[in-house]
Symmetry: C2
Subunit: 213 residues, 2 copies
Amino acid sequence: MAKSEKIPEATITRLSIYYRQLELLEFDGYRMVSSDKLAWLSQGNPAQVRKDLGYFGGFGVRGVGYDVIDLQAQIKQILAINRDWNLGIVGVGNLGSALLQYHNFSERGFKCVAAFDNASDKIGKVLPSGLKVMDIRGLDSAIEEFDIEIGVITTPPSAAQTVANLFLKANVNAILNFSPTRISVPECCLVQNIDFSVRLDILCYKLGREIVN
Amino acid sequence: MAKSEKIPEATITRLSIYYRQLELLEFDGYRMVSSDKLAWLSQGNPAQVRKDLGYFGGFGVRGVGYDVIDLQAQIKQILAINRDWNLGIVGVGNLGSALLQYHNFSERGFKCVAAFDNASDKIGKVLPSGLKVMDIRGLDSAIEEFDIEIGVITTPPSAAQTVANLFLKANVNAILNFSPTRISVPECCLVQNIDFSVRLDILCYKLGREIVN
DNA sequence: CATTGTGAACTCATTCACAGCG
DNA sequence: CGCTGTGAATGAGTTCACAATG
């Protein structure tokens, strides 16, 4: 019952996954779902589903399950995705460009409101979305103007720390870092790393083991 | 000493990160590094560094540290990234196209050797890399021809499971899944998910908490 | 009576602390 | 003497098992 126990980050990850399954369930016309079914769909364990949800309150009905619509609303509220968030992307290379057009972001309320680069041949270019690439030197004022809340780094690794510092100076203290390096930031700043090659390395490690064994 | 203890996946993740720092250390001219320094660079704990490395053998010299070059070689061997791996990418949208040109992959020995889509306006198109987009219906034979070992899914979520099944049928049992959905595969198949919006949801959750508290 | 909610048990991962060694 | 390697201690996260209940 919303006891302020420490909540594992893995729980938050799973809530996000449950949420997606709930969308599909609603689409398929389900009104209620059991922890058993939700766990199965999310490739998890029913006890875990109940415990995860239990951290935030008793959303279920004993003997029946969880209301598909209601639980979506609850999770949206918990994850604070019941509103839009403004993203600013730094680094308009291949990956940055892809993210700027990525439907999955806009559909889910993540709005790319500004794009920055330091290369003169990119600055001023108008992207397919209609957004004009801005000079990184204007980051500070743009953050205020566009109310950017989350910074996205899609630069080469050598520039990542510099960009992070710029975000920090401009009071953006949530960063999604796609560059394959760890940036160092003060306690107050939230970072999520998405490092493709670490993921590939893990696959290779396991593939390597398999072949050996 | 290579005791076949169970090794945490987190250890593998960290090895990948240590490896990157070792590259930088070598570049900066360092010959030796202590667990203390490597931990600091990798934003971890020195005891953890030693334990992680200890799972695979005693690579260090007491009183001195680890040889920067030698440790790189050891980690490459452990992660099985001391050779190239062939990737096949399915879904030549924004993200897929970005990955196909992503330098970080090719530099690290991950070779995109084939690209597939099901949209007739994409099939046959020649990508900047020189690769020609193939019809997904030719996946099976292409996998053999190009010796594809790792399948990359960059399709919309609705197609992800279908693509995964195609990979499985063609005996590709390592998948990097960028679609924001969980695919279900048999035990023998390795999957790594890279789900951008889950990462963003985590940031939002924490941002939401901060504002409240 | 099926299914939730949750303390207790358990499993897995991290950190400590120090013996071992170059 | 300094730093590694590692068993032991701690801490975190998951699963069990069952009482509570609509």
